[in-house]
């Protein structure tokens, strides 16, 4: 009797341990089956139309700053020297107004986003402000980060990759520790959670503000996209963004755009880059 009870308790304990580890035999990721696509693995679907909410730092985001106004950006002396020499007339004459719509700053502008799956592993982000396009290239599911992991460097882009205005972005879903370990599918109808990590480099030099604050071509950007969802149906996409530019910045430049979900593209209004 005691042995039976002991066996039962041991069986229960093993089950508990197995459940905590999330390693059911035959349920492990990569056991013969193809890894799920980024779209299939997504804890939330970011596709649709979103509008930026300019609720903070309004006067530095909604309108162009005046000359010499560099507040908000942790620039070094060399950046100040470059910005001091910048004039909107020269920029307009050289048709360089889109420099202020580059990858380092594009998501901080007042704008709408149209996000769509280009294919199962590439997420396309169009902006109506400046009519820019980003493509987020997902790493394979097996390359997903553990929860809370440090931002990792992006996978190597193609060898012949040329710098571009929006650069080259590598994305991956970062799932909570439990979901990441076992790779078990969530129960039907159960909420799924996770963040999207995006790292971007290979950007052309550009401007952090329309009054000439520069960023370098070697700048790198890391974003954490978090969906904030209410039971009432309201949805916000919050993007914690860190720009590293040792050439022009004294420390990482961090900003946090918030986008509100819109029901459709009725207010989508593409407009060219503007100097104002």
């Amino acid at each position: 009797m005691r042995r039976a009870a002991l066996a039962g308790v041991l069986l229960f304990g093993s089950t508990v341990l197995w459940a905590q580890q999330g390693r059911a035999p035959g349920n492990r990721p990569g056991a013969g089956a193809a890894p799920p696509s980024a779209q299939a693995q997504a804890p939330y679907d970011p596709s649709g139309y979103w509008v930026s909410l300019i609720t903070q730092n309004w006067r530095f985001r909604m309108v162009a700053k005046g000359p010499g106004d560099y507040i908000g950006a942790p620039i070094n002396a060399e950046a100040k020297k470059v910005a001091d020499a910048w004039t909107p007339a020269a920029a307009a004459a050289a048709a360089r107004t889109c420099e202020a719509y580059g990858g380092a700053i594009i998501m901080w502008l007042p704008e709408r986003l149209h996000i769509s799956w280009q294919d199962a592993n590439d997420l396309r982000v169009d902006t109506d402000a400046g009519m820019q396009t980003r493509v987020l290239h997902f790493m394979s599911a097996a390359g997903g980060a553990r929860a809370g992991a440090e931002a990792a460097g992006p996978a190597q882009p193609p060898a012949d990759m040329q710098p571009s205005r929006q650069g080259y972005s590598v994305a991956r879903w970062v799932l909570p520790a439990g979901a990441q370990r076992g790779g078990r599918p969530a129960a039907v109808g159960a909420p799924r959670y996770g963040s999207l990590q995006v790292t971007t480099d290979h950007m052309l030099p550009g401007l952090l503000a329309k009054n000439g604050i520069p960023y370098d071509g070697n700048a790198k950007k890391t974003e954490w996209w978090d969906l904030r969802k209410e039971s009432t149906g309201e949805q916000w996409l919050s993007i914690s963004t860190t720009v590293l530019d040792p050439h022009y910045l004294t420390r990482p430049y961090i900003y946090d755009p918030v986008f509100q979900k819109e029901p459709d593209g009725a207010k989508w209004d593409p407009s060219p880059c503007s100097a104002l």
Partner: protein
Amino acid sequence: MKRNPVGFVVLLCGTMLYTGAVLAQVDLSGDWALASDTTDAGTGRVADDFAGIPLNAQGRAAGLAWTADEQQELQRQCEPWGPDYIITGLWGGRFTAVRDRFGTVHGWNVTISVYDRLPMVIWTDGRAPPSPEALHTYGGYTSGKWEGDTLVTLTTHLKDDFLERNGTPSSNQETFEMFMTPHGDQMAITGVVRDPVYLAAPWVIAGTLARRVDTGGAVNNSVLYCMPAELQAVSDGYHAGGELPNQIKTLEMYQTEHYNIPLDAALGGPQTQYPEFRKRMLSEGYKPPKEYCKIVCCDFTSRVCSSN
């Protein structure tokens, strides 16, 4: 002494279950400080600048009636800011787990080292909320629940206070919701302020805190005391000490001199937070100021502007 293997295994299983439950929580412990663009949180908005804040008519009137002198009144000097100050202020906070004697985490205590914001306990153990008639304080009552690795909190029971240091009002009906998601040594926080008295729509703000490892315990390690004292009337250079409420002329002067922002933008409202408002300004002929910046022109951490 006779050993009982069944009891031992039951204890082992219980330990595994308990350990799993504890490890399932994300550890927020440590000192965190605001790392985002610190323009609004550091230098701050000037008086009467409510652009992007969805004030209703009552909120606008209350905001315009405020003057910087109010903060110098003896009875007001020690009024702390509300819980949203974790995003709108620079300090962040020290997060410490609230545990019982068995080590179970019941919540998170968030303190800062200055008397700017009261300590906040985020209760995550599902305890019953206080009665609506319970005491309202500047810290309020905060509950939280985990959704994946995100701690979702709701603060209620707040007193009348301010959302920003320029007199943007908040009422005792305000609620503050936070979504806190740690990403390694950073923590992304989205805050949603709702106030049926002063806001026409939710005010959604966000910030990133960074884990501080170099403070040597000098930051966020204690609550200092506030000692009210007689002070001279302050001036931001645009408001006279004896200024009357609703004297918007000073605001017009400020905006025209430095930013050329239309008056209706500075007065706030839900419409001011959308891109359409910018397009309207441009269509009405907005031009950036031509005069070279002379006052507060650089981030206070970069120190490349001699005027700072």
